[in-house]
Symmetry: C2
Subunit: 352 residues, 2 copies
Amino acid sequence: MFDRIQTPAVLVDIDVAKRNIERFQTYADSHGLKVRPHIKTHKLPAIAEMQLDAGAVGITCQKVSEAEAMVAGSGRLNDVLITYNILGDDKLHALVALAGKVKLAVVADNMTVIDGLSAAFAAAGATLNVFVECNTGADRCGVGTTEEAAALAVRIHAAPGLRFAGLMTYPPVGGAAKVQAFMTEAKALIEARGIAVPAISSGGTPDMMKAHLAPIATEFRPGTYVYNDRSLVARDVASWDDCALTVLATVVSVPASNRAIIDAGSKTLTSDLLGLVGHGHVLGRPDISIDQLSEEHGRLRCPSDINLTVGQRIRIVPNHACVVTNMVDGVYVYGKDKAPELWPVPARGKIV
Amino acid sequence: MFDRIQTPAVLVDIDVAKRNIERFQTYADSHGLKVRPHIKTHKLPAIAEMQLDAGAVGITCQKVSEAEAMVAGSGRLNDVLITYNILGDDKLHALVALAGKVKLAVVADNMTVIDGLSAAFAAAGATLNVFVECNTGADRCGVGTTEEAAALAVRIHAAPGLRFAGLMTYPPVGGAAKVQAFMTEAKALIEARGIAVPAISSGGTPDMMKAHLAPIATEFRPGTYVYNDRSLVARDVASWDDCALTVLATVVSVPASNRAIIDAGSKTLTSDLLGLVGHGHVLGRPDISIDQLSEEHGRLRCPSDINLTVGQRIRIVPNHACVVTNMVDGVYVYGKDKAPELWPVPARGKIV
C-alpha cells in the first residue's frame, strides 16, 4: 500500500482518525460538553471539517497565522478560539481582519494584552471575545488566583471593543479537581461583580475522558486525540490500534547484528521525549528501541538480533504526533477505501 | 533593528557567519585540508556561495532532495557530496538526474546500496562517485572494520556505473586519533588491492580546529560552524559573539515574579537538548533558564526576580542551530550594513 511513497514519510489512517474523533464526541455529547478541537495535531482543514461533522462547535488554534491558514483552507471553519496572548501591531491587525470573517475569540492573562486588544478593536469599530486564561497548575500562562481572574474579567468587560467571553485553562494532567475548584470560585467572584461568565473552556487529550470530573467546564479542547501517539499509549489512554499517525521509514544500514539505522531522524520524529525513553515505537517490534536520533538518522537497538535488512520498511508511532505534522509539507492520508494521497499541511510552520 | 519583525523569528547575522566561515577556511588552508561544508545548518544557497567564495571545494548534503534544492537555488553549487546510503527507485532516478547537472558523490556502507547505485547508473550510462562510509566510533552508519571497508571498495571499483571515490566518516567528538588509525589502515588495505584512494573525508564542527590531528583526511565537512550555537559554546569552541543565529521572541506573560512565558516554543527552538540542561541561552541574561517548552510557549525561570515585562523582546541562542533552520520557511538575514531581509530557506524540510 505504501510502496510508492518515498521515505521518510508521515502517514495518516483516516479511518482511525475518524473513529478517534467520534469516540470523544460521543463522550462529550453524553455529558453536555461542547468540543472545540485544537488543530495543532493535524493542521489540516479537511480533518477540522471531519471534527465539525462529528459535532464540534469550532476549532482552537494557538497562533494567528495558524487560524488564518485554517480559515483560508475551508469555508466551514467559522468559529475560532486562539488560546494565546496576542501582542503587537501586526498580529492585532491580522486579528481584526480575521474577526471580520469568522466568530473569533482569544485569551488574555494580563492587562497589557487586554489593553492592546481593546485599542485595536475599538479603533476598528469591531468587537472581540476575550477569555481570561487561568493557571490551574500547569504553570505556563494564566493568572494564578481567582481574584486576578475576576479583575481581568472586569477590565475586559469595561474595555471598548472587547466582550468578556469566559474563563479558559490548560490544566496539568490529572487536574480536573483543580479546574473545578478554580473555575467555580472565579465564576462566583465574576458573577458577584454583575458580569456573566458565558463559557468555561478546558482541554488536554490525556484527561479528556475525565472531563466530566470538572463539570463546570462548558467546552473541551482536545488536540492529540485525533491521531494519538506513543505518549498517550504510555498513559493508557490509547492503544497502538488507535494511533492514526505513523512515520514510514527505510532501513538504510545494519552495521551490527543488534543495531540498524533508518532514514528518519529528528527532522521527522523530532526530539520530543514527553518523559519517555527512546524516540518512538516500531509497530510490530516492541523489542526494538530507537535510542538515538541525528537529524536524518534514527538508530534502532535490539537486545538480541535485530533481524532487519537494508531496504526494509518499518512504521513508527512517534512520541508526539503534533510536532511531527509540523515537520512536513505534506502527509499521506489513506484508509480502508482510500489509496494513500498526499495532502498539503496548510498550518505547518505557522508560528506567528 | 528588529522592531518590524513578527515574533518568533529566526535571525541570522551575516557578518558573524562570514567571519565563522573565513576562520575555518584559514585554518584548513594552513593545513592543506579541503573544506566541504554541510548545508544542513543554513539550508541557503546564498550562504553556500559565501562558503565557496571563501575557498570551499563544494558542499555536503544529507538527502537527495536537499541537494536538489541547493543546486536549483544556485548555478555555482556544482560539486556535491551526499553523505547518505541512497536506496529506492525514486531516489536513484533523482540521483542520476542530479549527476547530469553537477559533480556528484554519495557514500555506501553495504552491498545492497552499492548494487542499487550500480544498477541505476549503469542503466543510465552514467558514472557515480561512491565513498565507503566508515564507523570510527560514532556507531551510526559505517562499516566497523577496515577489512569491510576494503571489501566494499573492491565491490565499488568493480561495479558498472560506479567509481570508488575514497573513504568517509562522521567521527565521534574527540575522535581524531581513531580517524587517523582507521583510515590509515583501510587506505593501505585498499591500495594493497591495487585501488587508489582519491579522498578521505571527515567532519564535525566540535573538533574542526583539531582536524590536523587526523592528517590522513583530505577534506573536512563542518556544518554548524557557520552559525554556531549553545552546544558549541558549551564545548568551548565558540563564544556568544560567534553565534550568528538567534531566535527573536516576545514575552507574552509574566505570571510570577520569577517566571515568564515567551512566544517561542518547540516549534521554533525544537526539543533538541544535545546533552544540555534547558532549551537555549537568553542573550544578556545568563541568570535565566528556559526550563520548559510547549509547542508555542517557552517558559523562562530566574532564581530571583526575572525583571521582564509583557511585550518585551529577547534573543535566544538555541541549543542546536541546524534543527532551528528546519522549522521556518524563512530567516531574517541582517548585518552591519544590511537591514533585516527575509530569505526563504529552500532546503527546509527536504527529508527524502
